[in-house]
Symmetry: C2
Subunit: 104 residues, 2 copies
């Protein structure tokens, strides 16, 4: 677990396009988990009070897995498809304290 | 997965007490995952640029599991122990978009 890369993405989406954005994000997450051994979690949620504000907790097995993820066709497709939907994107680099999950 | 409760906690910790805070948090997370069937994930990270800023992604099987969690001895111990360490706490209620994790 020591070399894991964990990032928190904070996005604001154009409210008129939030459903299209969610569909594109779901497709990207499903492909990433199915095709990339080094993608461990992509936990995506919308804030209840601001449904167009999205948070994604991203966990990669190591730095190389994260770099490889950025070059995949499904990630590039997601970036191109959602370019006009994302009003702001903040990527927070983190240090894990404890990544606690059932069955690990 | 429909009834899952997912929350994002955003905390600012007294920088002088961050290591004590992390130790108390780790103990609370380990006990919660070991003793509570309805606690599914407690992913805790510190921001690299602001190491005293902590984010915790909390996933509970359902609302009852979350309510029960608040009444456990280990949670109450954590709250009492960290009361003087936490400068601010924001709890963000969320709607899951997709909780993607390997092996699920």
């Amino acid at each position: 677990m020591q070399r894991r890369i964990v990032r928190l993405a904070e996005l604001e989406i154009d409210p008129a396009q939030i459903e299209s954005y969610k569909a594109a994000l779901r497709e990207e997450i499903e492909a990433s988990l199915r095709l990339e051994p080094g993608v461990l979690t992509l936990y995506a949620v919308a804030l209840k009070d601001q449904p167009n504000h999205v948070r994604i907790l991203e966990t990669y097995a190591h730095a190389e897995a994260y770099k490889a993820h950025l070059e995949t066709p499904h990630f590039k497709k997601y970036k191109a498809a959602t370019q006009g939907m994302v009003k702001s994107l903040k990527l927070l680099e983190t240090e894990p304290i404890l990544l606690g999950a059932k069955g690990q």
